[in-house]
C-alpha cells in the first residue's frame, strides 16, 4: 500500500462536477457533524462552503484550542547547503540558476547552531538542497550530530531518503520530517521537475512512509500552492496526512499550506491562492483533521499570520532566514523572500499580546535516547 493508490482512486473523479453539486445544506450538515469523510472534506473546499467561512472558522478555532490549548510551538529553519542537482522551475536553488552557492562545513554548522540556540530556539528544522555528492548521508549524519548538541528537537527538510537513511539520521538525533510533494498531480509534477533526482514522483510521495517505518516521531506534508489547481492540492494534502495517521497512528502528523513566494528564479505562478481561499483551506483541514499540527511559515506576512493564528495554526517559525550561513553574518542567496521578519523575542511578545503562549520546548530527544 502507498498513498499513490489513494491518489489513483481519484484519477477519474470529476472534481468540478462535485464542487458544483455542493449545496448550502450539505455544508450545514457537515458543520453539525463530528467526523468528516473524505468527500465531506472536499465539499468544505468548494465555493459553496466558502460562503460559510465564518462558521467554519469558529468551529476550527474551537477544535484547535480544545486539542492544543492556547499555545503556539516555535521553531527556526537552519539552511546548511543550497547546492542542488534538481531543475525545479519555481525554486531559486535549482541547478540552472546562477546564484551564490554555499555549503557549510562542520565548524560553520556548529557556529550557526550556537547562534540560533542563543536566541532561545530549542526546536530546529534543518534544510538543504538535493545533491547526493555535496550533501550525502554522511554529511547529513555528522551535521545532525553537531546540531543535536544545541537543540532539544531536530527536524529535517531535505531530499527524500531511503528507509535506512532515515534510520541513520533518526539515530543521529532527528525526530521530525518535513517534505512537500510540491504538487500531488503527477503530470504537473513531471512538467515542473525536468532534471535531477527529484523527477521521481513516487520516491518523493512515499518518503513520509519510509521515515515512519524508520520510527520518526513527527511528519509534516503539503503541496506548494501555486503549481496546480488549489482545491485539489488542499484535498490531497489532507488525505495524505490522514493516510499517514491511519498507517502510523503513533506518529504526530502535521500539514503546511505554503504559497509560492517571489524568488531569484522569477517564476510566474499559474494557480494563485488568495487569502480568503487560504483561510478556507486552513479551516477545512482543521475540521477534517482536528488532531493534526498546522504550520504556517514566514512565506506569510506578520499581519496575516497574526490574523489566522486563532483559527487553526499550531506551529510557527520565528527569527527566520532562508539563506545558507546567514546567522553567522555571511548569507548566500535566499531560497525565497520571507514576508515575516520578526525575531524570536518579537514573536513571543506578539503571541503573548494575542493571548497565546509561545512554547519553545515541547520535546527532547534526550528523553528517549
Amino acid at each position: 500500500m502507498s498513498f499513490y493508490e489513494k491518489i489513483k482512486q481519484y484519477r477519474k473523479f470529476d472534481f468540478e462536477a462535485f464542487f458544483s453539486s455542493v449545496k448550502d445544506e450539505t455544508v450545514r450538515r457537515i458543520l453539525e457533524g463530528d467526523r468528516l469523510s473524505e468527500l465531506d472534506y472536499l465539499a468544505l473546499l468548494s465555493d459553496t462552503a466558502g460562503k460559510h467561512l465564518e462558521e467554519m472558522a469558529q468551529k476550527a478555532a474551537f477544535l484547535t484550542r480544545r486539542h492544543f490549548g492556547n499555545v503556539i510551538f516555535i521553531f527556526t529553519p537552519l539552511y546548511i547547503s543550497n547546492i542542488c542537482d534538481n531543475v525545479c522551475a519555481y525554486c531559486s536553488f535549482a541547478r540552472q540558476r546562477h546564484i551564490d552557492r554555499r555549503h557549510l562545513g562542520y565548524e560553520e554548522i556548529r557556529s550557526e547552531a550556537q547562534r540560533i540556540g542563543s536566541k532561545g530556539i530549542r526546536h530546529i528544522l534543518v534544510l538543504t538542497g538535493e545533491s547526493k555528492k555535496a550533501v550525502g548521508i554522511d554529511y547529513l549524519r555528522k551535521s545532525i550530530e553537531i546540531i543535536s548538541e544545541h537543540f532539544s528537537s531536530v527536524a529535517i527538510e531535505v531530499y527524500p531518503l531511503t528507509k535506512e537513511e532515515y534510520g541513520i539520521l533518526c539515530a543521529a538525533g532527528v525526530d521530525g520530517l518535513t517534505i512537500y510533494q510540491e504538487t500531488y498531480n503527477e503530470e504537473a509534477y513531471r512538467q515542473y521537475h525536468q532534471g535531477g533526482p527529484k523527477e521521481d514522483y513516487r520516491f518523493r510521495l512515499d518518503a513520509p512512509e519510509r521515515a515512519c517505518l524508520a520510527d520518526i516521531r513527527t511528519v509534516t506534508v503539503g503541496a506548494l500552492f501555486g503549481l496546480y489547481e488549489t482545491r485539489t492540492e488542499a484535498f490531497f494534502t489532507g488525505l495524505h496526512a490522514a493516510y499517514i495517521h491511519d498507517r502510523f497512528p503513533r506518529v504526530d502528523v502535521a500539514v503546511s499550506l505554503p504559497r509560492l513566494r517571489p524568488l531569484a528564479g522569477e517564476f510566474d505562478s499559474p494557480h494563485s491562492l488568495d487569502d480568503r481561499q487560504f483561510v478556507q483551506f486552513l479551516t477545512a483541514t482543521r475540521l477534517y483533521l482536528p488532531f493534526a499540527g498546522i504550520t504556517v511559515s514566514t512565506r506569510e506576512s506578520a499581519e496575516f499570520r497574526n490574523a489566522i493564528l486563532s483559527i487553526g495554526v499550531t506551529k510557527m517559525s520565528a527569527g527566520v532566514s532562508t539563506s545558507v550561513g546567514s546567522h553567522s553574518g555571511n548569507p548566500s542567496t535566499s531560497q525565497f523572500e520571507i514576508a515575516d521578519t520578526r525575531s524570536v523575542e518579537q514573536m513571543k511578545t506578539d503571541l503573548h499580546k494575542m493571548g497565546f503562549q509561545a512554547v519553545m520546548h515541547d520535546w527532547s530527544n534526550q528523553l528517549v535516547r
Binding site: F68, V71, G120
Partner: protein, 271 residues
C-alpha cells in the same frame, strides 16, 4: 481549612496523606505565570507536569519555575509511545530532581490520544519495582486495572472521555466497576470538562479528579479552578453522606405496605 478534615477526608496514595482530591495539570495555558494563582484557587496538593515540556538547559524558560514549593510534583511521561520510552522518561525525571512520583502516559494514537494499557502495564511493572510511586493513566478496563495494581500501581487513573474533549464521564459504568473492585484510589483523569462532571465523578466514590484543559483554556482559569475545587469537595461530601438512591418511578412518601406488621400479619385498624 482546619475543621474541614472532619468532612473532607484525606486521600492516601502510597501511604502519603493528600488533603485535596483535585489534581491539576500545567499545559495549554495562554500564560504559564498564572499557574501559582490557579493552584492557590484550586487548593490542590498535586500538580502534573509533562517532562517533555521541561527545558532543563534553560532555567528562565523552565515550566517548573511556576510550581510553588510544597506541592507534590507528578511528572508525566507524555510523548512516550511504548513502555521503554515511558521508563526512560521516568528515569530522567528522577535524575533531574522531580522526585519518585510518576504518572505513566503511553499513547499510540494521536487522533484520540487513548492510553495503551498493555504498554502502560509493562512500564508500571518496571517502575514500581524500582521504587517509583506509579500512577498509570489508563483506558478503564477492570482486568488491566487489576494487573496494574498487582504490578505495584499506587492508584489507577481511568479516563472519563478522551483527553482534552471536555465531554465528561462517558465511561461512567466502567469507572464505577473500578471503584467497586479496585482497592487503590481510582482517579478520573481526562475528559472532565465542567464542575458538574467532577462532582458527579466524586459522587460515585472515585478517589480524586485530575484535569487540565477545562481550567487552562477557560476565560478565567483562576475562577474555574475554584469552581472545580468546590465541585470536587461537594461530590466527595455527597458520597460520604450516602446519597439517596435514584429510581425511574415515583416513590410515595407514605409507604404502600405500612399495613403489614413485623409478624407478617396485617395491622388491625379496629374499625
Amino acid at each position: 481549612m482546619s475543621g474541614e478534615d472532619d468532612v473532607i477526608d484525606n486521600l492516601i496514595i502510597a501511604g502519603k496523606k493528600v488533603r485535596s482530591r483535585l489534581i491539576t495539570g500545567s499545559g495549554k495555558y495562554r500564560d504559564e505565570s498564572i499557574i501559582p494563582q490557579v493552584l492557590a484557587a484550586a487548593e490542590c496538593d498535586i500538580i502534573t507536569v509533562a517532562l517533555r515540556r521541561v527545558d532543563f538547559d534553560n532555567p528562565s524558560e523552565n515550566i517548573l519555575k511556576n510550581i510553588p514549593k510544597g506541592k507534590i510534583l507528578l511528572p508525566n511521561t507524555s510523548g512516550a509511545r511504548n513502555a521503554d520510552e515511558a521508563v526512560r522518561i521516568a528515569h530522567l525525571a528522577r535524575v533531574m530532581g522531580c522526585g519518585d512520583w510518576i504518572k505513566i502516559e503511553v499513547i499510540n494514537d494521536q487522533r484520540y490520544l487513548l492510553p495503551d494499557n498493555q504498554e502502560t502495564l509493562k512500564a508500571v511493572d518496571i517502575l514500581a519495582r524500582e521504587g517509583f510511586v506509579v500512577l498509570p493513566y489508563m483506558t478503564p478496563d477492570l482486568y488491566a486495572a487489576r494487573r496494574m495494581v498487582d504490578a505495584g500501581a499506587a492508584a489507577v487513573m481511568p479516563l472519563g472521555s478522551p483527553i482534552g474533549t471536555n465531554r465528561g464521564l462517558k465511561t461512567l459504568e466502567l469507572i464505577e466497576i473500578l471503584v467497586n473492585e479496585i482497592k487503590v484510589p481510582v482517579i478520573v483523569d481526562a475528559g472532565i470538562g465542567r464542575p458538574s462532571h467532577a462532582a458527579m465523578a466524586m459522587e460515585t466514590g472515585v478517589g480524586a479528579i485530575l484535569l487540565n484543559t477545562a481550567i487552562a483554556t477557560s476565560e478565567d482559569p483562576v475562577a474555574m479552578a475554584r469552581a472545580f475545587k468546590l465541585a470536587v469537595e461537594a461530590g466527595r461530601m455527597a458520597y460520604l453522606a450516602g446519597m439517596a438512591a435514584q429510581s425511574r418511578t415515583a416513590r410515595a412518601s407514605s409507604p404502600l405496605t405500612g399495613f403489614l406488621d413485623e409478624s407478617g400479619n396485617h395491622l388491625k385498624s379496629g374499625v
